[in-house]
Each structure stands twice: as C-alpha cells, then as structure tokens.
C-alpha cells in the first residue's frame, strides 16, 4: 500500500522556492497499478522521486506499507528513464546491483529473473553492447532482483520504437501478474498510461496537482490494445490533458 497525503515538494528555500508538487493525495492498494500522466516538466518525476525516498517532501506525508518514507527502501525499486545502467558493469552485475551493494550474493532466483526477461545469453556483456530494448529489460531485471513490493518507474520505455515498447509492456504485465508487486508508472505517453494503469491520475502543469482520476478496470485483459474500452480510456485521457491547456 502506497499512501500520499497532502504532499508538497518545493525546490530551493524562502522567496526563491519553486513548488513542483502541490498538495497531492492519492493511494495505491497492494498489488495494484497507478499511472501518472501529465505534460513534460509538470513535476511528475519529482513526485515519483519523493515516493522513492530520494527527495524529501516539503509538507505532507508519504507512507509505504504504513511506514513513513525517509530514504530509499529495500522493498521499493526504482526504474529510471534510461534504465540507469552503469556502463562499467556487466548485465549480471547491473541486474543484481542492489544485492551486490548489500553484500549479498545473488541467489539462483537472480538467474531466473534474467531468464524471464530473455537476458541469459547476454549476462556477461556490457550495456554498450546491448540494444535499447535490452537495456530497458536489464533495468526491469534490476528492479525485480530484490523481489520488491513496490515498483516505481520514471518513463521506463521513453524513446523506444513502438513495437519494442509494446513488447516490453506485454512482458511487464506478465511479470506483474507473476510477482504481484504494486507499481506507479510516470509517463507522458497516453497509450502507455491506458495500457498499464489500473487507475490513471492526470496531473496539471507545474506545480503538479491532481486534475482528474480515470479508472481503467478492464486493463490487463487479453488483446486490450485492440479493445474499444482501451480506445475510450485513451480518448478520455486526451480530453483531460487538453482541458484548460
């Protein structure tokens, strides 16, 4: 369970403070998904980083599993925009970074995760040898390596070609069903939000406030992209984003 109550995030202090996030309250029940969509630079990544414990909320509170977030948590994994892979570490080292940093030797499950993502053959390669799609999958493998309860994603599939993007989205849904984590996805891609968010929160331009909440109950069904329900959600999201803009 992720719970945000009246969260405000400001950069800088005093008269020069810039408000990036303005009184946002929302919750994600265990095992559910939430997509945050909004215009570029609206503060959605800032909000995500606050949930990840990388930025402190100026006001309000953020709780995960009932505990106040005070820093990066072991049960929370963050996937960055370009997967955040370290060029000097192999795929295997990158995928198991959290465990290696905690001085734990990755168990056999680590290899199982790499296999699940189709990365077994490249585990001793370096990121510069991989395609963009593979790099993003390594990012997902890293997030899964600690068996997190919560996964936070900051535009994880931005700038991929459409087919690669959709293939990874399909793969991600399978992983979500199998590993039963909750996730928050930050994106500016309307179709991605409609495909992966059980609930979609539309944010206003900076400072981010909740503009609309769109429920997406049929998400996750077979061939959802082709369904009329999906089209309807996409249409609704577009209208919400355009309203007042």
């Amino acid at each position: 369970m992720i719970a945000l109550r009246d969260v405000v995030v400001e950069y800088g202090r005093g008269v020069r403070a810039v408000r990036a996030v303005d009184r946002i309250t929302l919750g994600v029940p265990q095992g559910q998904s939430l997509a945050l969509i909004g215009p570029s630079g609206c503060g959605k990544s800032t909000l995500l980083f606050a949930v990840a414990g990388l930025i402190r909320a100026t006001e309000g509170e953020i709780r995960i599993g009932g505990e106040l977030v005070a820093g990066p948590r072991r049960d929370t994994a963050l996937i960055l925009q370009n997967a955040g892979l370290l060029p000097w570490k192999t795929v295997w080292q990158n995928a198991n970074l959290s465990l290696l940093l905690a001085k734990e030797y990755p168990a056999a499950t680590a290899d199982a995760v790499l296999a699940e993502l189709g990365l077994s053959d490249v585990k001793s390669r370096y990121p510069s040898e991989l395609s963009e799609g593979m790099k993003r999958r390594v990012g997902i493998a890293r997030a899964l390596s600690t068996s997190p309860e919560v996964m936070l994603m900051d535009e994880p599939l931005a700038s991929l070609d459409t087919l690669t993007k959709e293939r990874i989205q399909d793969l991600f849904l399978k992983l979500w069903a199998r590993h039963a984590f909750s996730f928050v996805l930050v994106t500016h891609d309307i179709e991605e939000a409609a495909f992966l968010g059980q609930r979609i929160v539309v944010l206003s331009p900076r400072p981010a406030t909740v503009k609309a909440v769109v429920d997406n109950p049929e998400m996750g069904k077979l061939d959802y992209r082709e369904s009329s329900a999906f089209r309807a959600v996409v249409f609704r999201l577009r209208a919400e984003l355009e309203r007042g803009a």
Partner: protein
C-alpha cells in the same frame, strides 16, 4: 583475479585471430619509419653544416648504446624507478583527493581556490627549497616529479568528478548505495579512463621534471640517472643521444604498462560499440 583472467583470455583470443601480430608489425613499421626520418634529418643537417655531425645518425647512436650498455642500463634503472615511484605517489594521493574535491561541494569551495593559486606555479620554482629539505640524494628527485604530477592528476580528477552523470549516481543511491559505495561503484570507474589518459600525459611531463631534477646541482655519472648521464655527455653527441634514446624507451615502456593496465581495469571501454 577474474579480471586478469579475462584480460588473459582477451590476449589469447587476439593472438589466435592474429591481430596481435598485425599490431606488432605496425608498431615495428612505425619505429622503422621514425628511424628513417631521423637518418634523413641527420644527413640534411650534416650537409647544411659543412659535414659536421651535430645530429648523430641512428646507427652511430645504437652502436654507442651497445658500447655504453652496462652504464646506460644502470642509469636507466635509476631513472625508471624514480619516475615510477613519483607517479605512484602522485596517483595515489592526487587522484582520490581530486575525486573528493570534485564531488563534495563544500570541500570544493574550500580547496579549489588553493589549487588555482598553487597549480599555475611551475613547481621547479621550488627546486632550491626542495633540495634544502630533501638533500641531494634520491628523495629530492622523486619529490620534484611527484609534486608536479600530483597537481596535474588532482586537477584532472576534480574536473572528471564534476562531469559524472547524475543518472548514474541516482541509480546507485536508489539501489541502496552508501556514500562510500557511490565512490566505489560510480565515481571511481566513471573517471578511470580519462585519468589513465592524464597519466599518459603525466609520463611526458614527469620525464621533463625528472630531467631537470637529475641535472640540477651535482652530476653523478654512474648513479645519477639518465638526466645526469645526458648532461655529463653533453659534448659527445653520440653518447648524449644514447641517453636520450634510453629516455624515449623508458617512456615507451611506461606507455605500454599503462595500456595494459587500461585493458584490464577499463575493459568495458574495449567492447564492441555496436548492439548485438
């Protein structure tokens, strides 16, 4: 160590696909070409200067090197270990300090003005003081080179540490890295390739400072190092040139050592740049 084993395997692979032989052949060709230029320059200078041998030709120089072999070799070793020791001291102090100053903003504000004041001073300006402090033996020679290279490596490490992508740091912090682990897993490896490049520049610079240190004050022909050897034979160009070539060989050896180290510790920079 795993890395050394992998580098070994890399080398075996290269021998098998013959790229090592090609590499060595190109190296040899390049050296031959250099000797040819030298010979031509020697002939031209002799012709212009009425038959006087100002620039000794390669064959004469090589003959002198063989004749002076034992003495030259002794001086070569003395200069070599002075230079290597100075580089090690400068690297192991300048590099970490540069990373700290480059990454920790408060430290940067405090230390950087000092660096900017001290760095531009040619360190040889302190040579007299250093001789007074360290005496005329080995330590002063090592100290002069080490001090000069220390600032060189400090300044480049600081600059490199400032260039590090925030994304990599965010990535390891969100994976639970401690302060020390950010240095160990991001800042150190991210700066290593360019620091090794600075180290290559430092070899040349260090050699110049070593020459100054070895030719200042007393000149000991037997145990004074190559600088001393060259100065001592200043008026016999063939012998002086034997010393100069020995210095070039010393530089070449150090470049090769740095290349091998880079192959081992920066292995990721040598992987294919194309996606699978």
């Amino acid at each position: 160590m795993n890395r050394a084993k992998r580098a070994g395997r890399w080398f075996v692979d290269r021998v098998e696909d013959r790229s090592v032989w090609r590499h060595l052949a190109v190296y040899a060709a390049s050296i031959l070409l250099l000797l040819l230029f030298w010979e031509v320059a020697s002939v031209v200078i002799r012709a212009l200067k009425g038959g006087r041998e100002y620039l000794p030709n390669p064959i004469l120089t090589i003959r002198e090197m063989v004749r002076l072999g034992p003495l030259l070799f002794q001086n070569f070793w003395i200069s070599a270990w002075r230079l290597v020791l100075a580089i090690l001291i400068a690297f192991s102090t300048g590099y970490p300090l540069g990373l700290l100053v480059g990454h920790e903003r408060r430290l940067d504000e405090l230390i950087s003005p000092m660096i900017y004041i001290v760095y531009p001073i040619p360190q040889v300006a302190f040579i007299l003081i250093l001789f007074l402090i360290f005496g005329i033996g080995h330590p002063v020679k090592v100290a002069i080179v080490a001090i000069a290279l220390f600032f060189q490596l400090l300044v480049s490490a600081r600059g490199e540490a400032k260039q590090i992508s925030l994304e990599h740091i965010t990535s390891v912090i969100s994976a639970g890295a401690s302060r020390w682990q950010v240095y160990r897993h991001v800042i150190l490896p991210a700066t290593l390739p360019s620091i090794l490049t600075s180290l290559r520049v430092s070899v040349g610079l260090g050699m110049a400072f070593l020459y100054i240190a070895e030719t200042t004050g007393s000149v000991d022909p037997v145990r004074g190092g190559l600088g001393s050897f060259i100065k001592n034979n200043m008026y016999s160009t063939g012998q002086a040139f034997a010393g100069i070539i020995a210095m070039a060989l010393l530089g070449l050896c150090l470049y090769i050592v740095i290349d091998v180290i880079e192959r081992i510790v920066c292995r990721w920079t040598y992987t294919a740049r194309r996606p699978l």
